[in-house]
Amino acid sequence: MALNDVAVHFGAVTALSGVNFMLRPGERVALVGANGSGKTTLLRLLHGQLAHDGERRAALDAQGREPTQAMVFQRPFLLRLSVWNNLMVALWLARVPRGERAALATQALARVGLAMQRDRPARVLSGGQQQRLALARAWAVRPRVLFLDEPTASLDPGAKREVEQLIAEFAQEGMAVVMSTHNLGQAKRLATRVVYLEGGRLIVDLPTTDFFNRPLPEPAASFVKGELVWPM
């Protein structure tokens, strides 16, 4: 998946500009930057949810379709249905054949440790369980690319660990992962590459070890040191 000189405008506001980005199979990319830097916009753009200027390309499969993608949001939207039915709806929306849905849903629930919760209303699960259900919903459609928008931002440390563990396991299964995060420790633990954005521009794009060990241009260096960087 690649972006060439892409810009995104919301009315008079330019949310992203001059972005060049390449995502290779199996990569784990962390998008970091201050609030309003364009992380979520870049995720939505990569996921094909935004109108844009410039070029967005994706390697197509034999049927001429983009690789299967899924996105998990900071606060996942779960229907007022059971855990099981939320999964079945996701599989229906992903056009998975009817005969395959039950098996995939069962596997997905087991995968995220929610098998015992299958008949509970999804919206009464704890925050961590809801996020795990959202991950199960994404994993069930077997995406080649998984987009995560601050997936642990509103979770307690225990739930955060569980979700991080799942993300790491999904990545090990070979799916490419692009996640936005404010947590540099999380970026260090999960990502193979870190991208720093500021004011809608991609400022730094380095392998994780280089990002944390090499000298960085000033706004990124300040950010890594934990200093507050206001978007211009």
Binding site: F77, R95, V124, R137
Partner: protein, 239 residues
């Protein structure tokens, strides 16, 4: 005056507790007509409201404004329009349903359709604003989104239907015009109250009034119960 009212109240109580056949017939027809109208309005109104809640097109705002304006549709205007449509010389006169319960169902359906559509649109639009992107990201198109959000908001939609039923069962203008208030055929609670009051038969009018008030009270209680369940659900989600 006070004695007359007390006598009327006593007579109404006798009618109600004695399960008066005439009263039961009128109440039964009222409930049947209004429930049928709400069922029809639910089918069309929820579909239209959900669709307006998730799509955007040129003129969308104007369509929503027009729909919201129809919330204040006077029942006598609806009655007059349906009368003109169904009268012998009207475009649908050949159906021959004027002064029948069917005509009353048609009139009440038209009356509550904007209520169902406008309230449904508001509900679905609010849900879509907060969650539409996530539905789209899972592959939901317009139709799937509308259906899923209707399913998601089903408890709130019960409130919408109860509101519509309350509006239908308590209106008098439309059913009086298209039903004709024919005894044993199209006489419903509201038209009977109007008639019996004008005849001076206050016990029956009062009895019907009490039944109508009880019904509306029961509907309000049901709405409150549904809203309390929604509140409890929202609290559980917040935890």
């Amino acid at each position: 005056m006070g004695g007359g009212f007390a006598d009327s109240l006593r007579a109404a109580w006798v009618l109600l507790t004695g399960f008066d056949a005439r009263l039961a017939e009128i109440v039964g027809l009222s409930l049947g007509v209004s429930a049928s109208a709400c069922a029809l309005a639910a089918g069309f109104g929820m579909a239209a409201g959900a669709w307006l809640g998730v799509v955007r097109f040129a003129g969308h705002r104007a369509a929503v404004a027009a729909l919201n304006t129809l919330l204040a549709l006077p029942s006598v205007v609806v009655g007059l329009a349906v009368y003109l449509l169904l009268s012998r010389s009207g475009p649908l006169g050949s159906l021959g349903i004027l002064f029948t319960p069917r005509a009353m169902v048609v009139a009440q359906t038209i009356l509550v359709l904007p209520v169902v559509a406008a309230l449904t649109r508001q509900l679905i639009a609010d849900a879509w604003r907060g969650n539409g992107e996530q539905l789209r990201s899972m592959g939901a198109g317009t139709l799937a989104s509308a259906v899923l959000l209707l399913l998601h908001e089903r408890l709130a939609l019960v409130t919408v239907l109860l509101t519509a039923f309350g509006r239908a069962v308590s209106e008098v203008g439309a059913v009086m015009i298209v039903g004709g208030n024919i005894d044993g055929v199209t006489r419903v609670m509201t038209t009977a109250i109007a008639l019996e009051t004008s005849k001076g038969d206050l016990p029956l009018a009062l009895g019907l009034g009490i039944v109508l008030l009880t019904l509306v009270g029961a509907i309000n209680a049901a709405i409150a119960l549904v809203q309390r369940q929604q509140g409890a659900h929202a609290q559980a989600v917040a935890k």
